[in-house]
Amino acid sequence: MLSVPPAIASRSDRRYAMGLLFLSALLALLVLASLFFGAVSLPAGDLFTGLVSRQASSLESALVWQLRLPRTLLAVLVGLQFATAGLILQAVIRNPLADPGVIGVSSGAGLAVVALLLVSDMAGADPLIGTNQPSMMAWLPVAALFGGLAAASLVLAMSWRAKLCPIRLTLNGVAVGAVLNALVMWTIIVWGGARTEIALIWLAGSLYGRDFLHLQVLWPWCLVGILGTLALLRPLSLLRLDDAVSASLGMRGLFWRVTAIIVAVILAASAVAVTGPIGFVGLVTPHLSRLLAGPDERSLIVVNMMVGSILMLSADLLGRSLISPLEIPAGALTTLLGIPVFLLLLHRQRRLGI
């Protein structure tokens, strides 16, 4: 660690504290908004009573507890998962364009999930849509994990010869993603029938109709991912450095890289299993957070998680209020907003001539 003069340190500490306070306030505001706004508009007071008292009979209570609360919590978790995965990948691959979607994790996980759905549909269970088979649903993140790992290893292996050059890696990722998505479409069209539309909306990435069962499936993975990220704190800041430098500092570079990628895939793939691929949150969030947090890795990770949750909550909130009572899938919105940022980053990457 570099030693920082105390005056500067305290100034940046104060700035960081202010930033954290601001983000917490924003996050709290969005959580409340997500609980109190929706397709059915009810007086906030009644909703609050419903939230606190929790009577199964009252409409407000059912609305808040069965629909809006799990959805809000899921948005928070999923947002922080995608954001953290993006942060880790960008550090490990040393590629500012990296994102779970870009390196193929989302499409691989998507294919695995759709394949599992196909199999379970043949077996008569109906995990994603009917949600009456919790034991089946717990398998979704596992399948997504394997699919995501396989796709990510494929993309990385293909780009290894080009020394993981950002633009080549991204192109390979996009190409692999296109092929995997085609396979997903194939599966859906062969299997889909009446369910085609639901499957396609899942593929666009949405929090529609998710309940506590999904939350129950997701949280252990989220916890494992966060713990893994914390364990990676020191290695991550070293992995940014040149290979030779980090080796001289006693780093087992390859080991930590592989571990970090696995942690990122755990975070991203389990989120994909629940919400479908939500594009570009993982790409945009770390860049945004760096503006707020400064260079320190530890504060960056915290800020990054909060910004991810904030983005996800706002995308979900926008998606369900813009054309209420219909819903725009959150993933489509994040892609629409994320692409311009991606192009901007691409342009900067190009100008730096990396």
């Binding site: 293909m158 010869r161 080009a162 050059c165 633009i167 080549r168 991204t170 192109l171 390979n172 996009v174 190409a175 692999v176 296109a178 092929v179 998505n181 085609a182 396979l183 479409m185 194939w186 069209i189 062969v190 085609t196 539309e197 396609l200 909306i201 666009a204 594009g279 054309i323 219909l326 819903e327 725009i328 899938p329 993933g331 489509a332 919105l333 892609t335 629409l336 692409i339 991606f342 192009l343 691409l346 342009h347 190009r350």
Partner: protein
Amino acid sequence: MSRHLVDTWADFSLTSRAVWISGLSLVAIGATLIGSLVWGDYGVSFSHALELVAYDDGSDAAFVIHEIRFPRLLAAMLVGSALGLSGAIVQAITRNPLGEPGLLGVTAGASFAMAFSMTFFSLPTSAELAFGTVGGISAAALTLAIGMKARLDPLYLTLTGMSVNLFFGAAIIVMLVSANIEVNGIYYWLTGSLVNRTWDHVAILWPWVVSGLILGLFGAGRLDALILDEDVLASLGIRVTTWRLLFGVVVVMLAAVAVAAAGPITFIGLVAPHIVRFGLGTQGVSHRILLPLSALVGAALVCAADLAAKWQEVPVGILCVLLGGPVLVYLVGRREVSDA
């Protein structure tokens, strides 16, 4: 054995190789012709099918051949030629071995505009085509405007084009969800398919494909010249920008008409010219040879893919992505593509 084959192939002149490639494509088209005429829920023997192509005796079998299977095959051929042709031209005008209307966002832009017109108005196909062309041109302009800053570097341009693709893909989803109508048909169209194509589609396709081919052949010399450095071209008195724009419009028209007939089918425009170059064993092929051969190979590819699609009941666009994705990865990994 294979060594011997390679030597023999190397001994062939360019002309005989070109003849070989076109021969193979024609054989492939012929095979799919037989396959797609005979194969289907309604059984017709091949000799009977051929008789029926020539002569309509008013029977059910004749209806199946004349109104369903034959137009579908023709539409597949025309779509394939349009895509192969536009791919070859766009590779020349952007000096980009990864050039493809789909990879430049043209296909996605055209599909967005056409899905828009399908969702909100019910227009005749020609008006939808006009929509598609405008959409395709705007998307291409967007991609090129962004890519121009990097002097149309192939990798950068392709990445930009694919982002434009994703953008329009998301925009289509937002639009379809907002419109709240029965959209399964549009979703199916968006995967790219040749099911239920009729003579109407053939009638829209062929004038554009033929005029595109003729224009391309007339301009082949110019396309060859565009490989050169811009300063050299300017000193030769060739108006680079004018020619690029002119051919750019041809490319977008061809891509838009293919989208209008079959939905977005990507990667054929990328793959077909590379198959031709690979078969001819040289990168610098004159466009007088490259353009017709690309059209032919594109036609053969889409026909074959459509036959496979018919067998599996899968949209043909999906099969084309499965074929083209690996080719793109291969081309990106190749050294000839400049380092970004």
